[in-house]
């Protein structure tokens, strides 16, 4: 595939505060990238820098060979061939749906404009709403108009700033699938910003996790899910619970038993954290005398996958308090009661251990 977007060493300062720092990123033509990160991590700033609404202090942005920024020169937003769908859609309230869609294609002749508008109205199922004003449309319809308007000038790259945040939770998934199909139909390269990892899993081909102005990991969502590269990535995406471990020469000790380590894990230092997914925890039979209780039920909720428990460790006098764990997440069909003491162990698997200050 051809690379469409290249970002090299991009830094952005806003009011003397570094918001993006030496960021590198590439995106292939036709790919959809989901940008996730906590509020204030710089995702919207990155979007604005690509769109031309922020002037980067350093770095280069290139789209399809066209240099948008080189640290000194900055191509105006209107010349970048970058479309954007804003969080609040930014539809022009004084124009009809058709006029909104026509806004960016005024340079085409009338016949071409009409053809383009009708094509988009049909594809986006807005045929009957062409003459309506924006306030007459539902949230979902407004979003479709925003997409039609952004696609009309045929941008090379489409940016979507939290496009689903204003949509009712029940409709959101349906819309995401619909819009993804649409973007694929147009072979559109897109970057979308969200703070909801589930949206990325549904919508994106690639996922980028950001924190404090830096890109932590960029890969396919499934890869990041299976192999997060840092404590921060796994913690932000809530990929599991954390079990503190004391590192020894060939194994690690935890309150849920000994874990046999791979060679590279040994280098993590004295203490590390094991990422534990609910499916990797075994609830032992409490009738068996050999199974010593090591956790206590702190919270119970009922879900479609059975009972969901949060468990805290029971720290005995001969176990160090540094190994105590909190809120270990476990799904089970077995009914337990609040404060009930249970015995847990970890299924053998490829352990993912991280130092906390990664």
């Amino acid at each position: 595939m051809t690379v469409l977007l290249t970002i090299q060493q991009l830094s952005v300062k806003l009011q003397d505060k570094v918001v993006l720092s030496e960021l590198d990123l590439t995106l292939d033509e036709g790919e959809i990238l989901g940008l996730v990160g906590a509020s204030g991590c710089g995702k919207t700033t990155l979007l604005n820098a690509i769109a031309g609404f922020n002037k980067p202090s350093e770095g280069k942005i290139t789209i399809d060979g066209l240099l948008l920024n080189d640290g000194k020169n900055c191509l105006p937003a209107e010349k970048r061939q970058v479309g954007m769908i804003f969080q609040d859609y930014a539809l022009f309230p004084h124009l009809t749906v058709k006029e909104n869609i026509a806004f960016g294609i005024a340079k085409l002749n009338k016949a071409e404009q009409v053809a383009q508008i009708n094509h988009l109205l049909t594809i986006l199922k807005l045929n009957d709403l062409g003459d309506s004003y924006i306030h007459q449309l539902s949230g979902g319809q407004q979003q479709r108009v925003a997409i039609a308007r952004a696609l009309a000038p045929k941008p090379k790259l489409l940016l979507l700033d939290e496009p689903f945040s204003n949509i009712d939770a029940r409709l959101r998934n349906e819309l995401m699938v619909e819009i993804r199909l649409l973007l694929k139909q147009f072979k559109m390269t897109a970057i979308f910003v969200t703070h909801n990892k589930d949206e990325v899993f549904t919508f994106a081909d690639k996922m980028a996790v950001m924190a404090q102005g830096k890109l932590l990991q960029l890969d396919a969502p499934s890869v990041i899910c299976q192999q997060p590269n840092s404590y921060q990535v796994a913690d932000f995406l809530q990929l599991g619970s954390w079990l503190p471990c004391q590192m020894k020469a060939t194994n690690a000790e935890s309150l849920l038993g000994k874990l046999v380590l791979k060679a590279e894990d040994v280098e993590l230092g004295n203490y590390a954290y094991l990422l534990v997914k609910p499916s990797q925890i075994i609830l032992n039979d409490n009738q068996n005398e050999n199974n010593v209780a090591n956790a206590q039920v702190e919270y119970i909720s009922v879900t479609e996958q059975g009972y969901h428990y949060y468990l805290n460790s029971i720290v005995s006098s001969n176990s160090p308090s540094t190994l105590a764990f909190n809120k270990l997440s476990l799904y089970s069909d077995t009914a337990l009661s609040l404060k009930q003491q249970v015995s847990l162990s970890i299924k053998p698997h490829d352990f993912l251990l991280f130092a906390k200050n990664d």
């Binding site: 604005n48 769109a51 209107e78 970058v82 479309g83 806004f103 960016g104």
Partner: protein, 542 residues
Amino acid sequence: MIALNNSKTWKLSSYLIALVLMVPVLVMLVGGVNASTQLFSHLWQTVLPSYLENTLLLAFWVVLLALIFGVFSAAIITQTNIVFKKQLRWLLLLPLAMPAYLVAYLYTDLFDYAGPVQRSLRAWFDWQSPSDYWFFDIRTLPGAALMLALVLFPYIYMLTRGAFEQQDQNLTRASRLLGLTAKQSFFKVALPLARPAIAVAASLVLMETLADFATVQYFSVNTLTTAIYDTWLGYGDLGAANALASVLMLLVLFVVLAEQKSRAGLRHQSARPNLNRELIQLSFGQQVIASIFCWALVIFGFLLPLTLLIVMAIEYSDVAQLSVLMSTGVNSLKISVVAATVAVLIALSLGLYQRLHSDKYRQLPQQISGFGYAVPGTVLAMAMLSTLGPLDHWLNGVVEALGFTAPGLILSGSLFAIILALVVRFSAIANGTIVSGIKQIPQSLDYAPASLGVNLKGSLTKVHLPILTPAIFVAWLLVFVEAMKELPAVLLLRPFNFETLSSQIYQLISDEMLEQGALGAILIVLFGLLPIVLLNKSKEKV
């Protein structure tokens, strides 16, 4: 915040506009400060203390009366089940359309010794001379205060009513659940929460009072504004007039600063407007008292003066009056249309500059351009004379030096001075309306055109200006009406033989001949009603 534009021409012109609007007042202040200490000490030893005392006393009484009228009427309308509430709600705004000097003249005419009220009383009770009975003298300082309060209280009524209606209804509900009655809840929760709005409104009333010229002049109450007028027109002493104007300016500045300080941090806004609150049920007696109170304000503040004007117009109007009305009306229209258009263009330019330019201090030109509203018309007129007069002399000198005939007073002696004064004074009104219109445009609409390949010019003409059309219209209308009503600046700055509706009516009032200009006075009142209708409509939408 992300900025879109860094045009140097736009930046330069914005600061230049702000400078032009501010320089006259600065020149006047410098002139006032530099006025000889001898002159100032002479003023201080003779008239200044009594002028100051009168000004402060008048301000105190007007604000007190306007607070009583405004806060009580707002409370009655929003908190009780008074009958004819729907009608009173907007009727109480109408006195704002009535210039105070008109009310002053009409009530003097009505209640004077020779007026119909005292004549009827004398006839009924067979009194022969003033020594036979006591009757209040309206042409006094308290009389002037009452006249001003009667037409200025709607500022307090309007803002306090808005504050009551915008209060979070859950606060009232919480106080009721904690055991307060509706009445107690009003005094312990609603009224304290409305304090910032009341403070703003009271400072507006105070500024209008300090700026008033015609009412106090007619009642012969010597305040700083009348002193400035007399010192300049009577004695031709620009230095002394500047010194007095500077004192008045400092007084106004003090009010503005005190008001801002008093409500710093006091903001009570609500997402749950209090529209369906439980009303205080008035007993029959309370209904009567509340109704008399509210209707008296409407009648004495608006309906009675208007009726008197209409009666005068019917009795005394003739063709000659109509032709004078036409010519003065056209003059008023001319300066008001130009002033409103210029003020709106400036407000648009500076408002959009503030929104779209990358300048770190982009809000500064807009802020500077708005301060003129606090400057009384009389002070502003002095400022124009102090600045444009010397500028004219300099221009004439330059032209003569170049071998041409001196053009005369092309700036200070022409409509330019009046229009500039009106623009300086009312730019704040246009700014307020346009900036609030701009603020309602979501930030994303600034960026959307660029993301669709449209440049700033296209964005302004296709997006911002069309969306701002209603705000532009309202701003234009508000400035237009204020300019139609403005008196002191016009009186002091008009070229010879140039009369506007307001200056002509003032002249007729001074000559005790308002009957001759009743039609013009009605016209001013009708123009004054336009922004009230607009204001009321926009408040109804809330």
